[in-house]
Symmetry: C2
Subunit: 342 residues, 2 copies
Amino acid sequence: MTPDVEVVGAGPIGLAIAWRCTQRGLTVRVVDDGQPGAAHAAAGMLSPVAEAYFGEEALTGLLVESAKRWPAFAAELGDVGYRDDGTLVVALTGDDLAEAERLRAYQAGLGLPIDRLRPSELRDREPRLSPRVRGGAFAAGDHQVDPRKLVPALRRAAIAAGVTIAAERGLARVTVIAAGCGSAALAGVPVRAVKGQILRLRAPDHGPPGFRHVIRGYADSRHVYLVPRAEGEVVVGATVEERTDSAVTAGAVLDLLRAAADLVPDIAEYHLVEALAGHRPGTPDNAPILGPLDGRPGVVVATGHHRHGIVLTPITADLIADLVEKGVPDPMLAPFTPARFT
Amino acid sequence: MTPDVEVVGAGPIGLAIAWRCTQRGLTVRVVDDGQPGAAHAAAGMLSPVAEAYFGEEALTGLLVESAKRWPAFAAELGDVGYRDDGTLVVALTGDDLAEAERLRAYQAGLGLPIDRLRPSELRDREPRLSPRVRGGAFAAGDHQVDPRKLVPALRRAAIAAGVTIAAERGLARVTVIAAGCGSAALAGVPVRAVKGQILRLRAPDHGPPGFRHVIRGYADSRHVYLVPRAEGEVVVGATVEERTDSAVTAGAVLDLLRAAADLVPDIAEYHLVEALAGHRPGTPDNAPILGPLDGRPGVVVATGHHRHGIVLTPITADLIADLVEKGVPDPMLAPFTPARFT
């Protein structure tokens, strides 16, 4: 039986698209190659504001819109580790603060909600921050989710809605390529692997972490984030490397731990439980590639989400399901069309 | 069938004692509880000179004598990763050099072979050392072995010689307690677990490490060693902690990597393949506990080797086998008798 839609890729993007398509009455097959994708290593920050970078206004708009959809999306799925404690930006030195404040001013100038905080205000919010911290900011709307809960939850929801999972590709009316780094070979789009190394720590004595905000830090020119989970896990990441290997290197672990411990000294006592490398699907302009593929009727791509795959999951699923159902791209997709690279 | 000897403990000490006893015509059973012991985490440095510490003259004498026996011991066993490239002591700062030189002068004063080296001489021997290194020393006679090759080799040799391995204790004419940290409960001797965290790195591109000496470093008051293996592995260790848990902590990994990378910057590119914690069987005076147990006829102990279990394996095996065979302790055992603590 030929389904209406075949989605190639069983990461959050692929599963969410499949789920949304099924909810619209389409029959859907997801092709899962069984390999862990970028989500396996992802921290799950939903940071449209703190990740709004110079020159990426279209992407920022999409991040903000997707983040708005996250609370309802999470509620539909059940426990995906959604937490709305907000994100603290923390700078260790004067130079770090200058760098952080320059970006914050840009973000605030876009009208995004991010407020400068003095060191005392930062420590009021998180007493475990280092006394060396020179300043920072608070992005109340930048939340988090746990990708290792999200992917199984999406899979369960998709299957419950009628999606089938297959190991091999077959025929379908429409094919959606949502294969992350593998999309380059499948669809000829300019997606490349951007290596990221990440650590998982655990608070000692089976307790929760000693802090509740996502912490995005600048520490002696090193960038690091610490994402605390309710169960005691803290994700510390991440390197950004133009490499395709999966090695965990001594230098990366050293840099991540040093920056994290400079900002939150207590983490020296935390247990190191996992160190791994993943690969983000990067694109030439750091924005995703979303829409119909020119010259390949019936083929749609949804890939290249780079560091934003988790936050962009709800809107990607909505817009791609819409496109598959109606055959016409939403105007919001225009900046992200595959055709921009041809 | 009741054997002449039961050895409780299947680490290098227990296996070597069993092997030597069998070679003397005794029948021997080794009791193996199946748990990894201290050797699983050990680096395998044979450092009688660089580990000769103030106030431990009796221990130093035993270390020196055992190290002399290592080449023949290794030759009997086959490939146990024995390497005689020697050990470099390396100090990063002026304070580190003062600390290292004070110990070196003491060691040289005992007549031990350790020569001061200038920074240029250190770098001639190991070009990958940091240009920051302020000085150090060379202990030509301090060698290394690979404990993860040693233990299986000893087990094979012991079994080939007729030793049987059992999971449970039984009857025997003489019992040798060589159970490391477990010896406290079995024999009532004052052995305590001293936690050590250790890392295993691997040189990139499947090559050998970029240095061949064992490096014992002082880096901003942190002590670290780097042990290069022919196959590309580098062992980096070790913390010394009065703790009994087995957690790998972020702070320990950070300190070890920082000190190692300060001394040999290239190791930042090495792959981190393992981080683990082991427990050394420590004693009140840091010396092993070797000899007949007072009030327990037929019970001999060979434990408490602390950080010196690998280097002390040959002499411990020789002296304990001698004791078991003849019933009379060698005078060399006198400083290490269990009775010194009662």
